[in-house]
Point group: D2
């Protein structure tokens, strides 16, 4: 097979470097250009020395003409950028994977409210698929634009969908207690993200409302056919990579611990990147560090009516760049796991 | 006032050294003896070099005769030890503060089930008070044995009681998502607590049942007069000190965000060690590192019927040794804050 | 005794908050004002929530008239600020402690070269003392301006001086391998100091020349009377607080391990804040976290001619705010240890 | 080419799991057996869940008969084990790579002194090569037993050899200030390695003598032909993976900064796993996390006669399992980089 000619718009952040790390060994990927206005002319390996010896590529100013020569363009940009360039690239037949939020929410009024800008590209949505392969695989294969999911939604949807689809929980009162490593906050220089501030500390944030909440609600409702009520409280972990979501719901059917385990194992038996942990064990974020896996456990503690799911991913891999490559594989008819079989780094 | 003659049984763990750190500057404390079978003859400052220059005391083998000469004995021992020595010391008129769990649960059948041993000292319970001053102050003042609360119960009870006492939540379905730094696991050499294992990772543990669950249930029910149903999932944080509990409950009354803020501010307006954060802000564990404070925030996100409380403490201070000294102050008629006004170490 | 009326200029950084933490319990300190142009009107406890309940003070715009009413002004400002205000305050009889570098180096040509600005206040140097009490105590007592030493110089000078003063090492080729926690880089928002950048990593920096190098050279030469040649390589530690310097020199006299131990113990036998560790042990930075101690060990490994000293401090305490308070005590005739007897936080 | 049939003796430690991680994607490796007496019957993926989905292999009791059917046996065992089994395996034609120290030091009297046991297998040394390919490649290719170097020696030798071989430094007084992440201490449950002990702290250890010192001295002397005098002080870093050595030596020739840079670039121009950083930059341990690279920089600060080299590796990869696989590639005539081109995980 011919290599896929790839452009990356805005690759200076953590998702950008992670994308480059993963694509470095993808047998069918050829990163032809990577853009950044501020870093024009800088070698990516100078900015990210882990890439020394793997890339000679330099950042360049984004130019539509050149991006149009690509088969695929990844957007690792702030919200709004992909939207502004999408129509032109789509018209040129280029495929798009947006790692930001521009195409994640179909209800554009909701999107505009949470992202604080108007959405101008509603017309493109018939070419869009939400890039969570476990639940949108057939749509992804046919789409031209992939809305790569947020990290919290990826981990939460994988943990919650089996229960919702089986119709065994009260969908109106689900609680998600999320925790993310600091790389999720990006590479911008903010005081609150300094090592001297976030190390050796833990806190909730965004209790009043996080942008991943409407994304989760829409997709949960869409896939399950039930109106889902969600309370979502994200927290910041004193570590770089890794995300855990603890999900709480009330059972409406009297499923035993063994039946719950079975429900999850069946739901994901054919999924290469979702691992239901053995009964009685619990996932740790380090079990997925640097890998594209989501690992899950389901519990019914003390036989109460509450079901608890804990779900871990690497926020930069299955929560961003890895899932983007998984979507690329689907878009181009490749083996879904191609280039994505890294073993997590442990310890 | 004369100094309080203090004995510490089993001071080799983290609560032991923290007790010594706090007592070093307590104006009325005189640590007369500290016991450890394994470290007999070792200077505490050799084991804990932060104490160099502050203590010349050595560990000694515990002897009842000598402990009986104390005014107060702290137990910083494994579960079961305080129980075995309590009757003799009580008979000698000594006061006891147990930092382990021997007297935390009044329902001895429940205690025995969770702690895996028979409770032989039920007869002593009329001298016992549960050492959470904010809710048991008058009992503490009259008691001879203080059951110093667990760290999760301290943080959770302080966060949940105002709602329960006001009768504004559904008590039957409360969810507590707890997170603790690794010092909470103690100083025992376990592989899972190695730096190479717990750093840069996060996980839930004890989902099937943690010993602090029955303790919380009993006290919540006792103080609120309502039968409380609790789902409690503890997690391990990649840091040394600090604990956060995120508490979720369903409102049964339509209290606004401002009314909730007001409810908490009134509940704790006279409490020196509970700080309700200003509306719109959230506590971080580093805001209490090394101090005896509990800091709290209450939210009603997106106007739903869910109320969220986040509560932080230093697990070794308000969650153990600091609260023990607070109880000592009450037992001996001292100012409650005496020796406990340290400012948290930040950054 | 009357309280010392204190002003703090520029207290928004880490040395500022640490100064407030320490002064909160100093029996003779009254912090009357704290200035910041950018944070005018903000309560210090809102910026540093660990101070909630300890201070009601707000930041205000610096005004010379008000600062002149103080007995003492601390400068916790960028380099150059103290210099610009010093003459006016000195004329008004105010005492000054500069935590920045404006008065650390007497050779103003050297200073100007390393700090990139002209030094305009050479005339004030007859009122200046270098604030390392262990070697400049008598000068400090008589001075009006204290140049509070840098963190690397404090740790290094305390480790190296006994050898230099005894004349037992080759002063021309001393090597200092320094390591500092990230709080030493301050609270400015820089990408390299983000938690996602500095955690789980270690690096040398400033190998070509660090500003603390000329400061160390001048003071070592001044106190020892020997021309000292120094190679200094600082490194960044993935932790918040703490500094270690490993010092290497060649013995010119055949001192045994025991004699070296003795040399250090005698040098510091009367010093309250320098602790020579017992022979055979080594200091760890956590042994001084939050305390004003410097802990040291001296070794002659394998009987070679090399002597090795390892010296640890908390960079924000003995390396900055704690030492500043120690200097304040000396300036005002107080007990040198007043308000500085905190026990290090361990674990 | 046929796959190499591999046995791993003692794979329960961190080098064991790292070996499995790397071999999982080596195109010519077939891990046929992995032994552990204590974990007999346990699936490696149960012990190391990052391997779930990559291995179905179980630990088994070591049996010489089965190991003899392998082409290659790795020893990831305590010192002394490889020695006890080597002769039998060698006689059976099996190749051996020992990740412990049994064959690292040719002077057996020195070995016995530092390792506290007699060396019984001196006769095997004519089949042994020291597994640092950059300096022993030709020997490795012809050997049957590879003594895989220690982590400190790997990083130090790569940093020091160019200077020694060029004869431009005083070989009699070299100083190595080493720093290692805690994974270097292994997976044994020791109090000093608990997260609550080693996090947020830094210390020197083993100043009186570390086992890697005689190994370094012997190899430096062997390769350079000069008698090398070394002072080596290792330190413990509060992080999991990564090692940095700062090397100090006195120049005997007046080489400029540019000449030193050139010396190193020429020395390593053909080496796939040694990267001389661009002039003016410095390596960080995160630049090699999870990869087999060593990154180096050389400086002559302030034009003094001191040269400084800083050298970083991942202690578990180039410092252990990665280098072992590099040696395997050489032993079996494969491309040296085969299976070893992972990009470091950054951030």
């Amino acid at each position: 097979m011919q290599k896929i000619k790839i452009g990356i718009v805005g690759g200076t952040g953590y998702t950008g470097v992670e994308l480059l790390r993963i694509l470095a060994f993808h047998p069918y990927a050829e990163v032809a250009m990577i853009t950044s206005r501020s870093e024009d002319g800088v070698a990516v390996a100078d900015m990210y020395p882990n890439l020394r010896g793997h890339y000679t590529l330099k950042f360049s100013v984004p130019q539509a003409d050149q991006l149009k020569t690509c088969d695929l363009v990844f957007f690792a940009t702030p919200h709004g950028v992909a939207m502004s360039m999408a129509a032109e690239l789509v018209a040129a037949g280029v495929k798009l994977i947006d790692l930001a939020a521009d195409f994640r929410i179909e209800d554009l009024a909701v999107w505009s409210k949470w992202y604080g800008m108007e959405h101008t590209e509603g017309a493109l949505f018939d070419r869009v698929a939400y890039g969570l392969p476990e639940y949108y695989r057939s749509q992804i294969k046919k789409a031209q634009i992939i809305a790569n999911p947020g990290c919290y939604p990826t981990s939460t949807l994988l943990g919650l969908m089996p229960l919702l689809k089986a119709g065994v929980i009260d969908a109106s009162k689900v609680i998600v207690d999320g925790k993310s490593g600091v790389s999720g906050a990006g590479r911008g220089a903010k005081v609150a993200m300094l090592g001297a501030e976030m190390s050796e500390s833990f806190k909730a944030y965004g209790v009043e409302g996080h942008r991943h909440l409407p994304e989760m609600k829409e997709k949960l409702t869409q896939v399950s056919g039930q109106n889902v009520g969600l309370t979502f409280v994200p927290h910041l972990l004193p570590m770089i990579r890794g995300m855990e979501n603890s999900i709480y719901a009330t059972l409406t059917e009297d499923l035993s611990q063994a039946q719950l385990q079975n429900l999850f194992e069946e739901a994901y038996q054919d999924e290469p990147f979702v691992d239901v942990m053995p009964a009685g064990s619990l996932p740790e974020t380090r079990m997925v560090k640097g890998s594209n896996m989501c690992r899950l456990a389901v519990y019914r503690p003390q036989g109460s009516s509450q079901v608890v799911v804990t779900s871990v991913i690497d926020n930069l891999v299955k929560g961003a760049a890895g899932q983007a490559v998984q979507n690329m594989n689907l878009l181009f008819g490749l083996e879904e796991t191609c280039g994505l079989t890294q073993v997590a780094l442990m310890p």
